[in-house]
């Protein structure tokens, strides 16, 4: 009871924090149709600055700390990332009107990590004076990459199976199709599998029916085995993770204290406030995309961040009792789990599960998932950590 009233007080004061204020401000001015624009170059620069800062501080800290402490939390991060995908596979994907590949991509994105949400979580912990392991930010890739890899691998296996059964079942029509195909490729007919101004079809079978003369369906070379390393590589090469790892390496191997203290650290909060504004404006502008897809995505995006956060918080508490993982670190692990990727995740999924509809996963994550993670998730898990410290 006391915890609840405590949490509500904290939540009320969180609403007044600049982080949340700018996020909500962004939603509101976008809703009012403001032409305010944070240029793309500034957005990219801010992301670079924030993640380099998180990396640098982590790297500097790891230099003087016992790195074996990180093993259990990192393992739990991996487990959470993969678990989130399977949860999506057996809940969201089973709902009516949901294509499996879309569900898998969405779950992959919610399993992956948002650098801006992580930065916001760190800011709140610091504002509240809650100690946390300085390497906790470095748990990012341990959850991000497994989630994306799992989603893409599971989707590929699913798609291959679908194709095989389709080939078996539609043998005759396939023959017709192929001969039409030969004709087409000689005559260069306009092609493409997506229908015009209709609703997004939920199965590939529907597509076929809606086809006009401009239809496609070219025989694609069969990709039999999914390769994991290219997906990992693509994740690591993304701009957000690159900046984090670069910062980490520089913090670990060089002495960047002078620039860290004169530049990256003092600018952190202010730049974060601008990033929150962008996130808010983005959230509003993606609502439209979310509306185009089944309402279940909105429900998922509302529930999933908190559920994922609770799972990670639970695992984090195991680490707390087992190896002394701090309550602040537990909260950060939960925030990482609650977050859904906004920068590197979408392009990775676009390439890895090309048949999934980006409106579904980006809409769910950006329009609902991220605001929930920041506005509800962060105060919730920080509050739980404080309760844990009190006990």
């Amino acid at each position: 009871m006391e915890f609840l009233s405590d949490f509500l007080t904290k939540f009320g004061s969180q609403l007044q924090s600049p982080t949340l204020g700018f996020l909500i401000g962004g939603i509101i001015i976008a809703a009012l149709g403001s032409k305010l624009e944070i240029p793309d170059a500034i957005y990219k620069f801010i992301v670079f600055m924030l993640l380099t800062k998180v990396g640098l501080s982590g790297g500097i800290a790891i230099r003087n700390s016992n790195i074996t402490e990180m093993v259990l939390p990192a393992l739990f991060a991996v487990v959470t990332g993969m678990l989130i995908v399977f949860i999506g596979r057996y809940t969201l994907a089973k709902l009516p009107g949901i294509r499996t590949v879309d569900a898998l991509a969405t779950a992959g994105l919610f399993g992956a990590v948002s650098g801006s949400t992580l930065a916001a979580g760190i800011t709140v912990l610091e504002a509240e004076g809650i100690p946390y392991e300085p390497w906790a930010g470095a748990l990012y890739p341990f959850m991000d990459i497994p989630a994306l890899v799992t989603a893409i691998v599971v989707a590929s296996i699913y798609t291959s199976k679908q194709k095989q059964s389709a080939t078996a079942g539609e043998d005759l029509s396939k023959q017709e199709y192929l001969s039409k195909q030969e004709y087409l490729s000689k005559q260069s007919v306009a092609a493409g599998e997506y229908p015009g101004k209709q609703e997004y079809p939920t199965t590939r079978q529907e597509y076929r029916k809606q086809q006009r003369i401009t239809a496609s369906g070219y025989p694609r070379e069969q990709q039999n085995r999914v390769k994991i390393w290219p997906i990992v590589k693509e994740s690591l090469e993304g701009s957000a993770l690159s900046a984090l790892l670069l910062g980490l390496a520089l913090g670990l191997l060089t002495r960047p204290e002078s620039v860290y203290e004169s530049f990256y650290d003092p600018l952190f909060r202010g730049l974060l406030s601008i990033l929150m504004l962008v996130m808010g404006m983005e959230a509003w502008s993606r609502i439209g995309e979310l509306r185009k897809v089944a309402q279940w995505y909105a429900v998922y995006a509302l529930v999933a961040p908190l559920l994922h956060g609770f799972i990670a918080f639970g695992l984090g508490m195991v680490a707390h009792y087992a190896t002394g993982f701090t309550p602040g670190g537990v909260a950060l692990l939960a925030v990482i789990a609650a977050s859904s990727s906004d920068i590197s995740g979408p392009p990775t999924l676009r390439a890895g599960i090309p048949s999934a509809n980006p409106s579904a996963y980006i809409g769910a994550s950006t329009a609902v998932g991220t605001p929930i993670a920041i506005a509800v998730g962060i105060p919730l898990f920080v509050g739980l950590a404080q309760a844990l410290m009190g006990s």
Binding site: E37, D40, A191, K197, Y218, R220, P354
Partner: protein, 105 residues
């Protein structure tokens, strides 16, 4: 003596930039020109999670001059076959171009 040419135009998602460029190269075209483009088609979908609030265009437009129509059609067919199931895009051709000056054509 000018050189007759076909001009193939492909508008598609930015994420495909390198992959489409590779196909053009492999088809033996002497070059291509690419510009950032926005647009609207049958699928009003953005491919990346890049902020739409920003000022970026999410499409690219390729223009390829080819010495004959066949090469252009071949490129177009391959791009459509590999990507147009899953990505938005359009490909069209204009056969009445003449190259006036080029380093190789």
């Amino acid at each position: 003596m000018t050189q007759k040419a076909s001009k193939l135009v492909i508008v598609t998602e930015k994420v495909l930039l390198k992959k489409v460029a590779k196909i053009i190269d492999e088809a033996g075209a002497t070059g291509y020109t690419v510009v950032a483009a926005g647009g609207k088609g049958s699928r009003g979908v953005r491919s990346s999670g890049q902020p739409s609030v920003g000022d970026t265009f999410s499409n690219v437009k390729f223009e390829v001059l080819t010495p004959n129509r066949d090469m252009a059609v071949k490129i177009s067919d391959r791009v459509a076959a590999e990507f147009f199931d899953d990505y938005s895009g359009i490909a069209y051709i204009c056969d009445v171009m003449e190259v006036l000056h080029a380093h190789t054509f």
